[in-house]
């Protein structure tokens, strides 16, 4: 899922400083699961913003709402009535959510309350780690289900660099060396021979190097 983290109150307040009526919009999908932008976080941020404004004698009227998915037009329309009653929207969705609101309601400014961090998984409640770099050309089938693009600090394709020590990455002793993980996993699977297969130079045009990406599936289009 998409992992997000709330921006500082100071940064958020600077963004919405000139407005008197703001809609704080949460998203019920990824950012709810990672406790960054769901219904509770919307209520908490709204309460903090109201108090901060009140403390400085500013009038700030906040309305709150959380929709199922901000990146999906099916749900975004639910915001229309509330958006019409405010001067700005503060989205607690990921970057895709913020932009979907902005594209849908072109007449109203939309601001991000979160920093969208990465595509990752929950290791334990309160701990999330990156797992996928959305490179557009998955090679997990040859690396034992462990992604060297997202998890090797250098995104190396054919084994570790010299900075791998005791299974850890040189950038930080808390970061596992992805290639050590790949080796251990393939060994456990009895598939070490896969390492003899050289992974060719990656086609980064399928990733961000190819510019903004678009996927069209004619079979599911209406």
């Amino acid at each position: 899922m998409i992992i997000g983290e709330r921006k500082s109150l100071e940064e958020i307040r600077k963004m919405i400083g000139g407005y008197k009526k703001v809609l704080v919009a949460g998203c019920g999908t990824c950012v709810t699961v990672c406790f960054a932008g769901g219904e509770k976080e919307v209520a908490t941020l709204s309460s903090a913003l109201r108090m901060a404004a009140k403390k400085e004698g500013h009038g700030l009227e906040i309305s709150e709402t959380t929709i199922e998915r901000q990146c999906d037009m099916e749900f975004i329309e639910e915001l229309r009535e509330k958006v019409g009653q405010v001067e700005a929207v503060l989205s607690m969705g990921c970057g895709a959510g913020v932009q979907t609101i902005a594209e849908t309601f072109s007449e109203i400014p939309v601001y991000p309350a979160l920093n969208t961090k990465f595509i990752g998984r929950t290791e334990e409640q309160g701990v999330w780690t990156e797992r996928c770099a959305a490179c557009g050309d998955c090679i997990l089938h040859v690396t034992g289900g462990i992604c060297p693009i997202a998890r090797c600090s250098k995104s190396l394709l054919n084994g570790p660099c010299g900075g791998s020590k005791d299974g850890k990455c040189e950038i930080n002793p808390d970061v596992a060396c992805a290639w050590q993980l790949i080796y251990d996993r393939l060994k456990a699977l009895g598939q070490l021979d896969k390492l003899e297969e050289i992974i060719p130079i990656k086609d980064w045009s399928l990733s961000r190097d190819g510019g903004p990406r678009k996927l069209i599936r004619e079979d599911v289009r209406l």
């Binding site: 109150l9 908490t44 108090m51 901060a52 403390k55």
Partner: protein, 145 residues
């Protein structure tokens, strides 16, 4: 209009764990011990039930201070609710700092069900601390009983 400090009676929302502080507060009453009249006791099944939002909303609704009263360390009836409460308080303290509310207005204490005198001491000391600080910078309505 600024309140006269001598007449200022701080409103303190005290989230009390049902298994410890709430019973201590109840005993304090049965023992006819008096304590600051601005303490509003909110019974919770465990201090770990208190979320950051509850603390913020207490301040937003007019509390001058918030107390979280949890079971002693190692004695939580739900194993780690008191530890969770401590972590949440730490997180919300950072939030309060960002808002501009003094951190002294939010405190967590551990106390057992048989510590009625300590309950009285904790809330009275909190009330004194808040009196020194003055009313909450977030001037709002009053918290209801």
């Amino acid at each position: 209009m600024p309140e006269d400090k001598n007449r200022f009676s701080p409103k303190i929302a005290a989230f009390c764990c049902f298994h410890s502080a709430y019973l201590a507060a109840d005993s304090a009453g049965a023992m006819r011990k008096s304590y600051s009249d601005g303490v509003y006791i909110i019974r919770v099944p465990c201090a770990g039930k208190v979320e950051g939002l509850h603390i913020l909303q207490a301040f937003e609704k007019g509390a001058d201070g918030v107390l979280i009263l949890a079971c002693p360390q190692e004695s939580c009836h739900y194993i780690s609710g008191n530890i969770r409460a401590k972590k949440r308080v730490d997180y919300i303290l950072r939030f309060l700092e960002e808002i501009g509310i003094e951190p002294e207005r939010l405190k967590l204490f551990n106390l057992a069900s048989n510590q009625a005198p300590r309950f009285v001491q904790v809330v009275n000391e909190m009330a004194e601390r808040i009196k020194d600080l003055g009313p909450s910078p977030i001037k709002a309505g009053v918290i209801g009983r």
